[in-house]
């Protein structure tokens, strides 16, 4: 019973991926046929699927380190004994996390506007020519990454902050007595002590970033030239625009496999996480 409970959603998703469930089957189940692995094979031959996968990978590989670096930087600043008005700054930096994704995506679409957007205006002040952020296939994904980092970094910032506060003060005292500079304290005390938290944060963030959907839906609709179609965006269109539910299920299942594999890989390299 337990195994069924755990695997039920995954199994159901996988099973549906083996059928040609479409709009005809939706109206009459007798139209449903079992097609084996054909959905999967067809997906692997679909260029747009690979493009979506590549775009998502781009988003994860660039977006996750950027967002984690921003979180860590902000947490270090907030944790500094020199910082004032800590709770005020903490609230301000955290605010984007609780905002509604769709609403702030609409704001950022305007900030990224080529002609009237603030970003190009600010860049213009330092002599950089306007960039067609959301209209140029080379810039659309970086723009979305920038937006995602702004939206999400506060969450991990709070987790890092808790991790930083849990590091015993004695360690820093000992390091100071040994004559370690601030930089070396950061390098040899803070970061190693933070590594279990870092592992947790990167697992959660990577899994989360693979699920990119609303940002391209609102800001670019997958364009330009399909440069921001993510795996989930592809799944949404396949399943709920064209009603190829069998094929959409196969996409979701493949995404699950990828996330699962990446998480498992990370856990294998972090046996210490169990102690965290």
């Amino acid at each position: 019973m337990i195994a069924v409970f755990f695997f039920l959603p995954v199994l159901a998703g996988f099973a549906m991926g083996l059928t040609d469930f479409d709009i005809y089957a939706l109206s009459d189940l007798t139209n449903l046929r079992f097609v084996g692995l054909r959905n999967y094979l067809r997906l692997l031959e679909t260029p747009l699927f690979w493009q979506a996968f590549g775009n998502t990978l781009y988003f994860v590989v660039v977006g996750v380190p950027l967002s984690i670096a921003a979180s860590l930087g902000a947490a270090l600043l907030l944790n500094s004994p020199l910082a004032r008005f800590k709770s005020l700054f903490r609230t301000a930096l955290f605010a984007p996390v609780v905002t509604t994704l769709v609403a702030v995506a609409v704001i950022w679409r305007y900030l990224f506007n080529t002609r009237y957007g603030f970003l190009n205006y600010a860049l213009g002040q330092i002599g950089i020519a306007p960039i067609d952020w959301l209209g140029d296939p080379h810039w659309a994904m970086p723009a979305i990454i920038l937006f995602a980092a702004w939206k999400n970094f506060g969450y991990n910032m709070i987790i890092f902050l808790a991790g930083l506060q849990a590091i015993p003060v004695e360690l820093y005292e000992a390091a100071r007595i040994d004559g370690a500079s601030r930089w070396r304290q950061l390098r040899f005390v803070t970061l190693p002590m933070l590594s279990p938290v870092m592992m947790l944060v990167s697992i959660l963030t990577i899994a989360g970033y693979f699920q990119l959907f609303a940002e391209p839906y609102v800001m670019t609709q997958g364009g330009p030239l399909q440069s921001t179609v993510s795996v989930l965006y592809f799944m949404y269109e396949e399943g709920f625009k064209w009603w190829n539910l069998g094929s959409a299920s196969a996409v979701a299942f493949l995404l699950f496999l990828v996330i699962f594999a990446v998480t498992a890989l990370q856990l294998r390299h972090a046996p210490r996480l169990g102690a965290a």
């Binding site: 337990i2 605010a95 609403a103 609409v106 603030f118 959660l204």
Partner: protein, 273 residues
């Protein structure tokens, strides 16, 4: 510490970061008060020439935003109410009541936490379709009624309730429902508030699932409606900013009012987990 510049540097960086982070939100508010077309000029204006509520009036009068607001409030509040009852009861049961296979089931639930919800989306959609819940409020409310995260949060907190207290009540002849209502729920009050805030914000902000399940315009929640409006009104920045304010201001206010509880839940859910 010897360096007098360090405090200035740290606080200066913090102030700069806060300004960069808050800028989009403040600008949203400012642009939402501009008259039509004013924001589509260069250089972009910071403050409206004559602040006006015209955009908000327009949204209520012609875009039906009142209806979407009501939908969002209805869905978010019913999900919060129902899921609180179920999750608190389940969390307490996992922590304090003894039943067969309790710990194994709980571990299993934790394992299921890592499964991305999208893998279940298509099967769930079909299930709801056959239950006749697609394209109704129920389609959004039912799948959100119980959450593993909520059960987990309550369980961790409920573990700290001393068993002696419950035993004493049982000896005094109180039945399990009275114990739950009169002793457990008051003790769990802080975590209940935390969970309520999380659920409320999560449901309000949710986008993909309502987008899939709600096909009828009249049932749209604010985020779904805003996304669809923004595809139509690409050029009407002032109008869209007003829509964004209406969508995101309620959650920001709830968060600011109950921040302490929210942060607590975040810590419990991640670090101690």
């Amino acid at each position: 510490m010897k360096n007098g510049l360090a405090p200035i540097l740290v606080n200066g960086l913090l102030a700069f970061a806060a300004a960069v982070v808050l800028f989009p939100l403040l600008w949203m508010l400012s642009v939402s008060l501009m008259s039509a077309g004013e924001a589509s000029t260069f250089p972009p204006p910071f403050l409206p020439r004559d602040a006006t509520l015209e955009n908000y009036r327009e949204l209520f009068a012609h875009a039906g935003i009142g209806r979407y607001l009501a939908n969002s409030i209805l869905i978010a509040s019913s999900v919060t109410a129902i899921s609180l009852i179920l999750n608190v009861a389940a969390g307490y049961a996992f922590a304090k009541l003894k039943f067969a296979g309790r710990d194994r089931i709980f571990k299993l639930l934790l394992g299921a936490l890592v499964i991305p919800s999208q893998v279940a989306m298509v099967p769930l959609f079909l299930l709801l379709k056959f239950l006749g819940l697609v394209n109704s409020y129920g389609g959004v409310i039912v799948p959100a009624m119980a959450g593993i995260f909520g059960i987990f949060l309550v369980r961790q907190y409920a573990l700290s309730i001393p068993d002696e207290l419950l035993e004493a009540a049982r000896i005094d002849g109180a039945n399990e429902f009275r114990i739950f209502g009169l002793i457990v729920v008051p003790l769990l009050a802080p975590i209940i508030v935390t969970l309520a805030v999380f659920t409320l914000l999560g449901t309000w902000n949710d986008f993909m699932w309502p987008l899939i399940v709600l096909a009828d315009n009249n049932l749209y929640t604010l985020p779904v409606a805003l996304a669809s409006l923004s595809r139509e009104h690409v050029q009407d920045n002032e109008l869209m900013m007003a829509g964004s304010v209406l969508t995101t201001l309620p959650v920001l206010v709830v968060f600011l009012a109950l921040q302490r509880y929210y942060m607590e839940g975040l810590m419990m859910g991640s670090v101690k987990g």
